[in-house]
Symmetry: C2
Subunit: 104 residues, 2 copies
Amino acid sequence: MVNDPFRALSHPIRRGIVERLAEGPATVGEATGGFGVSKPAISHHLKVLEETGVVTRVAEGRTHRLSLEPDVLSVAADWMDRQRALWGRLFDVVDEYLKEEESQ
Amino acid sequence: MVNDPFRALSHPIRRGIVERLAEGPATVGEATGGFGVSKPAISHHLKVLEETGVVTRVAEGRTHRLSLEPDVLSVAADWMDRQRALWGRLFDVVDEYLKEEESQ
DNA sequence: GATACCGTTCACCATGTGGTTAACGATCCG
DNA sequence: CGGATCGTTAACCACATGGTGAACGGTATC
């Protein structure tokens, strides 16, 4: 299960990187500054984001330009939507049950 | 970061359990059958789901009734929605970036 | 009471994860 | 050329994760 967007999002630093890239492409330095960890640690998180397909990278001179891959993230977003649709229906079932209780 | 729904969802077996519970409460056996791992492994995954607040449990005789906690899962679902709203605008951002490149 | 069943805990193991410092390669700039 | 900058790789470490078989505690069933 190497290509798993949920795995990519399971660490707060990686979610932070995704948040910044959701606003637009950025270099490694721009996208990862201020997390309070060393550069190798950042490099590792970027590797995970690349392996899972969430982020792509293009070398530009001595910097790298990072971009989000919405299609891959959509796999996770769509899964969440499907589950939410189901558990939302559970609320309705409970509501109906409670109304039936009241009317008796 | 112990109470992190993303951590709960980072393993396919735990997502499978969530999928089943999204259709309604179930016992451990009902919710976790057929994953092809031993009972201790299942027990551990349930522990993670409980620790992260995604699942609650009520003992009923010798079985346990598991229920989903939508509020906790909504934290993850809402985050995904916010990001998706941002990366939905991303196509325009990329267009602008490419136009700036061309005009230079 | 004996036995089967549901699910957990215990002890253990292999691997993965996340972090560090040090060194490196490549690129830009004086 | 020489030095600063961007980001990676290498080597290492501590801890978390995910799995197993064995044993256990309650609860139902006969």
